[in-house]
């Protein structure tokens, strides 16, 4: 699992590389475009993911102690929090579309025209990075659902609970990606508005 996570780091790493280059090359445009992201919603979602990481850690803990009911309950909580995260994300996406900030199909930059290109690139990266992260969340929720089914069936004991632990590792990894995405995408300029 750790080997897989290393490949995942490189997968997302390429996008962080593109981000760094864009922020260096089109700094002012990136600052202007980042101001359109809702730092409150992004912050709430960061909190939601951190809580979900706690519930996931507690689920692994319960599985290690052979507590079936607690394992299932913590996993269900984790899944609900994951769904809340995706719900907030969907709300943000629809707002971006509504505001004409969706690159390529519906992009109408009304501020300094000199920033239009860089701003569109930034929002493109925003959608790709958060979209890929969101896709990982969907996969994570699917994995947790599968683990709930197995835990409910009584598959896990204090001796055998590797699938719960592995799913936990994946879930925490996806959380870590967001820990970096939040300040890099949402908090580039002081959140004054």
């Amino acid at each position: 699992m750790w080997a897989f996570l290393v490949t995942e780091v490189m997968f997302f790493g390429g996008l962080f590389l593109a981000y760094t280059f864009l922020r260096w090359k089109h700094h002012d445009a990136v600052v202007a475009a980042s101001g359109h992201l809702d730092w409150i919603l992004g912050g709430v979602n960061t909190g939601v993911l951190l809580i979900s990481s706690l519930t996931m850690a507690m689920a692994v803990h319960a599985a290690q102690e052979g507590k079936r009911k607690a394992t299932v309950n913590f996993l269900i909580l984790t899944m609900i929090l994951g769904a809340v995260f995706l719900g907030v994300k969907a709300f943000e996406y629809s707002h971006k579309w509504h505001d004409g900030l969706f690159p390529g199909f519906n992009f109408h930059w009304t501020e300094n025209p000199a920033y239009a290109g860089g701003a569109e690139m930034f929002l493109f990266l925003y959608f790709v990075m958060t979209g890929l992260h969101g896709l990982h969340m969907v996969v994570g929720i699917g994995l947790v659902a599968w683990i709930i089914k197995r835990a409910n069936r009584g598959d896990f004991t204090p001796e055998y609970n590797i699938p719960v632990e592995i799913t936990g590792l994946y879930w925490h990894f996806v959380d870590i990606v967001w820990i970096f995405l939040y300040p890099l995408l949402y908090l580039i300029q002081p959140p004054h508005h």
Partner: protein
Amino acid sequence: MSGHIVPKKTYYTIFLLLMVLLAVTVLIAYLDLDHATGIGGLNIIVALSIAFTKMMLVVLYFMHMKWSSKLTWVFGGASILWLAIMLVITLADYFSRGWVMFTNR
């Protein structure tokens, strides 16, 4: 990998630390450290340092790296090393373009 059971209290403590660091992340964004101190890029350095600390807390405690085998540490370290190689070498190219002008062709 498994075997060691981490006390619940440790998880709660780490979670609280993570939430505090999240609050600090937002607070830091309010302060223009670059202008206040004259150190360019201080804001992003602080923001990334906090994110790195949060990552280490999650990796060490939630992902049990602290109690894992040496091999797990090697894999974790490798991900950071490989990522660093990709970032440093690629950006060294981009950032240094235009530093040297070849005028004879």
